[in-house]
Protein backbone atom coordinates (compact mmCIF):
# COMPACT_ATOMS: atom_id res chain seq x y z
CA UNK A 1 0.00 0.00 0.00
CA UNK A 2 0.96 3.62 -0.43
CA UNK A 3 1.54 5.52 2.83
CA UNK A 4 2.41 9.14 3.58
CA UNK A 5 5.01 9.24 6.33
CA UNK A 6 5.48 12.58 8.11
CA UNK A 7 8.30 13.74 10.41
CA UNK A 8 8.34 16.61 12.86
CA UNK A 9 10.93 18.52 14.92
CA UNK A 10 14.30 16.73 15.27
CA UNK A 11 13.02 13.61 13.50
CA UNK A 12 12.36 15.79 10.45
CA UNK A 13 15.88 17.21 10.74
CA UNK A 14 17.61 13.84 11.09
CA UNK A 15 15.74 12.34 8.17
CA UNK A 16 16.22 15.46 6.08
CA UNK A 17 12.67 15.83 4.81
CA UNK A 18 9.26 16.61 6.29
CA UNK A 19 7.39 13.83 4.50
CA UNK A 20 7.77 10.98 2.04
CA UNK A 21 5.34 8.72 0.23
CA UNK A 22 6.34 5.08 0.46
CA UNK A 23 5.13 1.70 -0.73
CA UNK A 24 4.94 -0.73 2.20
CA UNK A 25 3.38 -3.98 3.39
CA UNK A 26 3.95 -3.17 7.07
CA UNK A 27 1.09 -4.39 9.24
CA UNK A 28 1.89 -2.33 12.34
CA UNK A 29 3.75 0.87 13.18
CA UNK A 30 6.53 -1.31 14.60
CA UNK A 31 6.92 -3.11 11.24
CA UNK A 32 7.00 0.24 9.46
CA UNK A 33 9.74 1.56 11.76
CA UNK A 34 11.86 -1.54 11.05
CA UNK A 35 11.48 -1.01 7.31
CA UNK A 36 12.35 2.69 7.57
CA UNK A 37 15.46 1.95 9.69
CA UNK A 38 16.63 -0.47 6.97
CA UNK A 39 16.46 2.28 4.33
CA UNK A 40 19.52 4.37 5.22
CA UNK A 41 21.62 5.85 8.02
CA UNK A 42 19.46 8.93 8.33
CA UNK A 43 16.35 6.93 9.08
CA UNK A 44 18.36 4.65 11.37
CA UNK A 45 19.62 7.69 13.31
CA UNK A 46 16.13 9.15 13.64
CA UNK A 47 14.72 5.92 15.10
CA UNK A 48 17.77 4.98 17.21
CA UNK A 49 15.96 5.69 20.51
CA UNK A 50 12.33 4.68 20.19
CA UNK A 51 11.63 5.78 23.78
CA UNK A 52 11.99 9.32 22.45
CA UNK A 53 9.63 8.81 19.50
CA UNK A 54 5.86 9.23 19.46
CA UNK A 55 3.55 8.50 16.55
CA UNK A 56 0.13 9.17 15.09
CA UNK A 57 -1.82 7.06 12.60
CA UNK A 58 -4.20 9.12 10.48
CA UNK A 59 -3.75 12.00 12.89
CA UNK A 60 -4.66 10.05 16.03
CA UNK A 61 -1.99 9.31 18.66
CA UNK A 62 -1.08 5.63 18.43
CA UNK A 63 1.44 3.18 19.85
CA UNK A 64 3.94 0.93 18.10
CA UNK A 65 1.52 -1.98 17.98
CA UNK A 66 -1.17 0.00 16.21
CA UNK A 67 -2.43 -1.61 13.00
CA UNK A 68 -1.78 0.08 9.67
CA UNK A 69 -4.72 -1.59 7.93
CA UNK A 70 -6.45 1.09 5.89
CA UNK A 71 -4.05 3.77 7.13
CA UNK A 72 -3.10 6.63 4.80
CA UNK A 73 -0.84 8.80 6.93
CA UNK A 74 1.64 7.96 9.70
CA UNK A 75 3.58 10.65 11.56
CA UNK A 76 6.66 10.37 13.81
CA UNK A 77 7.74 13.05 16.25
CA UNK A 78 9.36 13.67 19.66
CA UNK A 79 7.27 13.95 22.85
CA UNK A 80 5.07 17.00 22.48
CA UNK A 81 5.88 20.30 24.15
CA UNK A 82 2.89 22.55 23.63
CA UNK A 83 1.21 25.03 25.94
Amino acid sequence: MKLDVLYFAWLRERIGQPRERIETDAETVRDLVAQLIARDDWHAAAFADMAAVRCAVDQQLADLDASLTGAREVAFFPPMTGG
Binding site: A9, Q59, A75, M80, G82, G83
Partner: protein, 144 residues
Protein backbone atom coordinates in the same frame (compact mmCIF):
# COMPACT_ATOMS: atom_id res chain seq x y z
CA UNK B 1 -16.57 27.11 21.43
CA UNK B 2 -13.63 27.12 19.08
CA UNK B 3 -10.05 25.96 18.95
CA UNK B 4 -7.76 28.10 16.83
CA UNK B 5 -4.17 27.70 15.63
CA UNK B 6 -2.51 30.76 14.15
CA UNK B 7 0.87 32.44 13.72
CA UNK B 8 -0.34 35.96 14.57
CA UNK B 9 -0.72 37.35 18.09
CA UNK B 10 -4.11 37.35 19.82
CA UNK B 11 -5.66 39.82 22.20
CA UNK B 12 -6.92 38.10 25.36
CA UNK B 13 -9.20 41.05 26.00
CA UNK B 14 -10.83 40.96 22.57
CA UNK B 15 -11.18 37.17 22.70
CA UNK B 16 -13.04 37.38 26.01
CA UNK B 17 -15.65 39.90 24.88
CA UNK B 18 -19.01 38.16 25.27
CA UNK B 19 -17.31 34.98 26.47
CA UNK B 20 -19.23 32.91 29.03
CA UNK B 21 -22.50 34.87 28.93
CA UNK B 22 -24.80 33.46 31.60
CA UNK B 23 -22.03 31.57 33.39
CA UNK B 24 -20.97 32.50 36.91
CA UNK B 25 -17.26 31.76 36.63
CA UNK B 26 -14.66 32.37 33.94
CA UNK B 27 -11.05 31.16 34.19
CA UNK B 28 -8.30 32.00 31.72
CA UNK B 29 -4.74 30.78 31.35
CA UNK B 30 -2.16 32.53 29.17
CA UNK B 31 1.32 31.24 28.46
CA UNK B 32 4.05 33.75 27.60
CA UNK B 33 7.50 33.17 26.08
CA UNK B 34 9.91 33.19 29.03
CA UNK B 35 13.68 33.42 28.82
CA UNK B 36 15.01 31.24 31.63
CA UNK B 37 18.65 31.20 30.54
CA UNK B 38 19.21 34.78 29.41
CA UNK B 39 20.35 33.21 26.11
CA UNK B 40 17.03 33.00 24.32
CA UNK B 41 15.68 35.63 21.97
CA UNK B 42 12.69 33.75 20.61
CA UNK B 43 10.84 30.48 20.57
CA UNK B 44 10.00 28.63 17.36
CA UNK B 45 6.89 26.48 17.48
CA UNK B 46 6.25 23.72 14.95
CA UNK B 47 2.93 21.91 14.74
CA UNK B 48 1.18 19.19 12.76
CA UNK B 49 -1.27 20.96 10.44
CA UNK B 50 -4.54 19.07 10.22
CA UNK B 51 -4.02 16.95 13.30
CA UNK B 52 -3.57 19.93 15.62
CA UNK B 53 -6.89 21.57 14.72
CA UNK B 54 -8.76 18.31 15.06
CA UNK B 55 -7.08 17.26 18.30
CA UNK B 56 -7.77 20.62 19.96
CA UNK B 57 -11.39 20.74 18.83
CA UNK B 58 -12.02 17.15 19.97
CA UNK B 59 -10.33 17.59 23.28
CA UNK B 60 -12.04 20.91 24.02
CA UNK B 61 -15.43 19.35 23.30
CA UNK B 62 -14.60 16.42 25.58
CA UNK B 63 -13.59 18.76 28.40
CA UNK B 64 -16.81 20.76 27.93
CA UNK B 65 -18.85 17.58 28.48
CA UNK B 66 -16.74 16.32 31.36
CA UNK B 67 -16.82 19.59 33.33
CA UNK B 68 -20.20 20.90 32.16
CA UNK B 69 -18.73 24.00 30.57
CA UNK B 70 -20.98 26.78 29.29
CA UNK B 71 -18.18 27.95 26.98
CA UNK B 72 -14.55 27.25 26.16
CA UNK B 73 -11.80 28.61 23.93
CA UNK B 74 -8.30 27.44 23.00
CA UNK B 75 -5.89 29.55 20.94
CA UNK B 76 -2.35 28.33 20.22
CA UNK B 77 0.22 30.12 18.07
CA UNK B 78 3.00 28.67 15.94
CA UNK B 79 6.03 30.09 14.15
CA UNK B 80 8.65 32.38 15.70
CA UNK B 81 7.61 34.21 18.88
CA UNK B 82 9.75 36.73 20.75
CA UNK B 83 10.38 36.62 24.50
CA UNK B 84 7.41 38.13 26.32
CA UNK B 85 4.89 37.36 23.57
CA UNK B 86 1.78 35.30 24.35
CA UNK B 87 2.08 31.69 23.11
CA UNK B 88 -1.39 30.43 23.82
CA UNK B 89 -4.49 30.81 25.93
CA UNK B 90 -7.39 28.76 27.19
CA UNK B 91 -10.61 30.11 28.67
CA UNK B 92 -13.37 28.16 30.39
CA UNK B 93 -16.80 29.26 31.62
CA UNK B 94 -19.03 27.33 34.01
CA UNK B 95 -21.73 27.91 36.63
CA UNK B 96 -19.32 27.42 39.52
CA UNK B 97 -15.66 28.19 40.04
CA UNK B 98 -14.51 24.63 40.72
CA UNK B 99 -15.54 23.38 37.26
CA UNK B 100 -14.04 26.41 35.49
CA UNK B 101 -10.73 26.04 37.36
CA UNK B 102 -10.50 22.28 36.89
CA UNK B 103 -11.34 22.42 33.19
CA UNK B 104 -8.69 25.06 32.47
CA UNK B 105 -6.13 23.09 34.47
CA UNK B 106 -7.05 19.88 32.61
CA UNK B 107 -6.84 21.53 29.19
CA UNK B 108 -3.40 22.89 30.04
CA UNK B 109 -2.08 19.52 31.23
CA UNK B 110 -3.31 17.99 28.02
CA UNK B 111 -1.93 20.73 25.77
CA UNK B 112 1.52 20.40 27.36
CA UNK B 113 1.91 16.70 26.58
CA UNK B 114 -0.67 15.58 24.02
CA UNK B 115 -1.21 18.39 21.53
CA UNK B 116 1.15 18.11 18.52
CA UNK B 117 3.36 21.15 19.08
CA UNK B 118 7.15 21.22 19.40
CA UNK B 119 9.21 24.12 20.69
CA UNK B 120 12.76 25.08 19.80
CA UNK B 121 14.79 27.82 21.46
CA UNK B 122 16.25 30.51 19.24
CA UNK B 123 19.38 32.27 20.57
CA UNK B 124 21.45 35.20 19.34
CA UNK B 125 23.38 32.77 17.08
CA UNK B 126 20.26 31.22 15.55
CA UNK B 127 18.50 27.93 16.07
CA UNK B 128 19.20 26.20 19.36
CA UNK B 129 17.93 23.07 21.05
CA UNK B 130 14.48 21.54 20.80
CA UNK B 131 12.79 21.90 24.18
CA UNK B 132 12.68 18.52 25.96
CA UNK B 133 9.38 17.24 27.32
CA UNK B 134 9.24 17.30 31.13
CA UNK B 135 8.48 14.23 33.21
CA UNK B 136 6.45 16.52 35.48
CA UNK B 137 4.18 17.46 32.57
CA UNK B 138 3.58 13.81 31.76
CA UNK B 139 2.93 13.05 35.43
CA UNK B 140 0.44 15.93 35.66
CA UNK B 141 -1.84 14.10 33.23
CA UNK B 142 -2.25 11.19 35.65
CA UNK B 143 -4.26 13.41 37.98
CA UNK B 144 -7.29 13.32 35.66
Amino acid sequence: MPARIQPQPFDLAAELRGFGQGAGAVVTFSGLVRDDTGQMTALEIEHYPGMTERALADFGAGAALRFGLADWLIIHRYGRLSVGEPIMMVATAARHRRAAFDAADYLMDWLKSRAPFWKREIGPDGEGEWVAAKDSDEAALDRW
